[in-house]
């Protein structure tokens, strides 16, 4: 239920106008990554390892090059050497070095005059492999007999004596953990496991790149962050960033998976080798699943001490995660930060290891680490609540963090909305609906800290008094609409008179990607500052026109007014009046704002799900789903609801059905959407939403990022609901029908 009736006191912020890109998207006119073509364009195809782990002995592209229409082949030998750290990781993933590290790892790329020809040429490239033993599962990878798949990848954090596949170690905690458990009435510990899942955006990665002999290049690419693309491609190819201009297309979903590079540098490298002809590369769905960035899989031990009244006295976790064959890719830090983030617990101990496996290089996926951690912690909290006969929401309220609470990871919380969110959940009619046989209700809470990040925004006043805003954050969830609303609100002009453009790297200073739920927060905040700067300039122009002091002019309802009766009797000068004459009053009027903003506000959420489990098949039907989450202030409520519903749907898929399935040969078995099955329309009911608003004081309109928190609560909420419906507790995802059935039977 939206909170439109809540008086926000704003003219535009909180309303639901049409989004500016809506028309293009419903007519098919919007242009995504694969929708651009250039004259003389070549098509690229990638040669990929069919082995999970293999030494590359030789690559022979002679037959491919001999095929008429094939214009270029690139291998690792065409890339510069000497990179280190994350740049080396990126380069290693773009094209394998001495070893192929996972099934699907790119080994070479070809460019030809048609897509079919490029695919044929790729099949003609002969690669000689020496197959090596592989590891896939996170716990198998640290068994004593597991082969070490890459030597020397551990950093300073890993203590002596850990398995060679452990590359990162993290420890965090406070208080006296022994005393904490001693103070509990019950202490329970369990192990929970989640599988790797893919962000599942419907648009495969696609890129059109062109680079001349002079090393200057251009790209059209679907991405969440084109400055990252620029920086990463420059590093991998050894060119200067200013020589590369990247234009973002409309993006068909990202969820974190498009915040990095996978094959983009290949288009530039091939183009340069092919005499500067543009090269287009579109990944197939199976390439996307095999060779882009799924999230980590996790094996997690949790121990919690609780008093009979529900007070949590101590919490301890040990998380093991794999993020593929490249160090630093799994979200162990985030998982630790989120694990107990909802609760005020005096004694906590967190430990985590990141483990290498012969799997693709993991990328961010919507609140990375938070869903896995919540599955473990929120499941155990629920198990203990049931054991003690306690209500799940009351127990969470009892332990909930509030303003002034010390967070589980150290800093004290400022204004947050967890309590309000829990109370709104408890008060919702869904929480009281009676349930029938084989039905159960589950609750889960979730958290994401959200992110600021480098932001540059520019705003220009038009001669007709309209305004254009240039932002660097690609629009995934409707941010052009929300930024337009905030800008129009600030300027005091109609929403239709503001146009928000996502511009290319050559047109603005650096911007971090649209990730960390930051676009509406950071680009919005900067747009407001830019608008204020333009307003100040417009007031100066009015003051000059009237011959009065700058301080005697105020801006109201889209016009400059004399401030107070003593300033003089002048009719207001509207933004259109000022825009029409700006050329002769001092020049064009703009505002701009660059910052790495602070003032980020966290977003807490609570979900309630009702399920019915078929005792004969183990199939779980979602009967009812409720998302309650703190948005700070919903600039455009429909798009906030959209984030809540979308996050829930992805969480439902992760909980019930999605997983990366590997064969004994280490090859991914489910590489198409038939077998990697995400929720479809007939799997889900309507998803009810409640937008709680505890404004974030760090943003001019109170915005908290909302995009990510919503994927976190579904995992435990559904496990808790299945337990309520069947009495069987599942501690491993996905909770697919055969597993649920087996758990019901085992329970007896």
């Amino acid at each position: 239920m939206p909170k439109d009736d809540m008086k926000s006191g704003y003219r535009l912020v909180g309303t639901r106008p049409n989004r500016p890109d809506g028309l293009d998207k419903v007519t098919g006119r919007a242009r995504y990554g694969a929708d651009a073509n250039l004259p003389g364009m070549l098509w690229a195809a990638v040669v990929r390892s069919p082995h999970a782990h293999a030494r590359i002995i030789s690559i022979d592209a002679s037959k491919a090059l001999a095929l008429p229409g094939v214009k270029a082949v690139v291998t690792r030998a065409d890339l510069p050497t000497g990179l280190t750290g994350e740049n080396l990781n990126l380069q290693d993933n773009t094209l394998a070095g001495d070893k192929a590290l996972y099934d699907g790892h790119a080994v070479a790329a070809v460019a030809a005059t048609s897509r079919l020809l490029a695919e044929e040429a790729a099949r003609l490239v002969v690669v000689d492999y020496e197959v090596l033993p592989h590891v896939i599962d996170v716990d198998d990878a640290i068994k004593p007999d597991a082969p070490v798949i890459r030597e020397g990848m551990a950093d300073y954090s890993v203590p002596e004596g850990m398995h060679g596949n452990v590359v990162r170690y993290m420890e965090e905690g406070h208080g006296d953990i022994e005393a904490g458990f001693a103070a509990a009435d019950i202490v329970r510990e369990q192990t929970y496991r989640t599988e790797a899942t893919h962000q599942g955006y419907i648009e495969p990665h696609a890129c059109l790149g062109q680079m001349g002999e002079d090393g200057r290049g251009e790209m059209w690419v679907c991405t969440q962050g084109h400055w990252y693309i620029r920086r990463m491609c420059s590093a991998v190819l050894g060119i200067e960033a200013a020589n590369l201009r990247v234009t973002p297309s409309e993006i068909g979903g990202g969820f974190g998976g498009k915040t990095t590079i996978f094959m983009e540098p290949l288009t530039l490298a091939l183009s340069k080798k092919a005499g500067g002809k543009p090269v287009k590369l579109v990944m197939s769905r199976s390439e996307v699943l095999r060779a882009t960035g799924p999230t980590a899989s996790a094996s997690m031990d949790v121990k919690i001490g609780m008093k009979k009244d529900g007070t949590i006295t101590a919490g301890q976790v040990y998380f093991r995660m794999q993020g593929g064959a490249f160090p630093g890719m799994s979200p162990i830090s985030e998982a630790l930060q989120c694990a107990f983030a909802c609760y005020d617990i005096p004694a906590l101990k967190h430990e985590a290891v990141e483990v290498l496996a012969n799997r693709p290089k993991a990328a961010a996926y919507r609140a990375p680490g938070s869903p896995m951690a919540a599955f473990a912690v929120e499941s155990l909290v629920d198990e203990m609540c049931r054991e003690l006969g306690l209500d799940p929401i009351e127990t969470r309220l009892k332990n909930a963090v509030r303003e002034g609470s010390r967070s589980s990871f150290g800093p004290v919380y400022n204004q947050i909305g967890l309590v309000e969110t829990l109370e709104a959940t408890r008060a919702h009619p869904n929480y009281a609906i009676p349930l029938g046989p084989n039905q159960g209700r589950g609750v889960g809470a979730g958290f994401w800290m959200n992110h600021g990040g480098e932001t540059s925004v520019s705003l220009a006043i038009g001669e007709d008094g309209t305004a254009q805003v240039m932002v660097g954050t690609p629009d995934i969830g409707g941010s052009r609409a929300s930024i337009g609303l905030m800008t129009a609100e600030t300027l005091g002009i109609p929403y239709e008179n503001v146009r928000v453009n996502v511009v290319e790297t050559g047109a603005l200073g650096v911007n971090e990607p649209t990730h960390g739920s930051r676009a509406t927060f950071a680009s919005g905040k900067a747009a407001v500052e830019a608008a204020r700067q333009a307003i100040a300039e417009m007031c100066r122009r009015a003051a000059a026109e009237w011959g009065i002091d700058e301080d005697a002019v105020e801006w109201k309802d889209g016009a400059a007014h004399p401030a107070g009766p003593n300033a003089g009797k002048f009719p207001p000068l509207s933004i259109a009046d000022i825009g029409a004459t700006m050329g002769s009053t001092g020049g064009p009027i703009s505002g701009h704002h660059e910052s790495t903003p602070g003032g980020v506000g966290a977003s807490f959420g609570c979900h309630v799900v009702d399920v019915e489990v078929d005792p004969e098949t183990g199939r779980t039907t979602i009967l009812r789903y409720l998302v309650v989450q703190d948005a700070g202030r919903a600039i455009h409520p429909a798009y906030v609801e959209g984030q809540y519903q979308g996050g829930a749907a992805q969480g439902i898929g992760w909980a019930l059905n999605e997983a990366y399935i590997y064969g004994r040969d280490g090859r991914l078995q489910n590489t198409v959407f038939l077998d990697y099955r995400i929720p479809v329309a007939s799997d889900l009911p309507m998803i009810d939403t409640v937008i709680v608003e505890v404004p974030n004081p760090g943003h001019p309109y109170g915005v908290r990022g909302v995009g990510e928190t919503g994927i976190t609560p579904p995992l435990p909420a559904i496990a808790n609901a299945i337990h309520a419906a069947t009495g069987a507790r599942l501690r491993a995802l996905p909770m697919a029908p055969p597993k649920v059935l087996a758990a019901i039977k085992a329970k007896g």
Binding site: Q337, P411, E512, G516, S517
Partner: protein
């Protein structure tokens, strides 16, 4: 004096101390003072950390610190 709180696995570079007090007027000065006392922390800080001052992430190393500021160093996180 400003209190700089470290995550537990950094304690091995500070002879077990989880909190290090330093004299500093800005974040940059605090980090410099921290490294001067415990040089083992240098590569970790050089790799990038998130600095939280009195509960708020402050991304600007030149930001001024109140005399009794509470700082937490956290691993950098962005999201998806």
């Amino acid at each position: 004096m400003v209190a700089v709180n470290l995550w537990s696995s950094l304690a091995r570079f500070t002879d077990g101390a989880r909190v290090v007090e330093v004299q500093a007027a800005t974040i940059a000065e605090a980090l410099k003072a921290l490294v001067a006392l415990h040089p083992g922390l240098e590569p970790i800080l050089a790799g990038g950390v998130s600095v939280v001052v009195d509960g708020v992430v402050v991304p600007n190393r030149h930001a001024a610190l109140a005399p009794d500021a509470e700082i937490f160093l956290l691993q950098q996180m962005k999201g998806g």
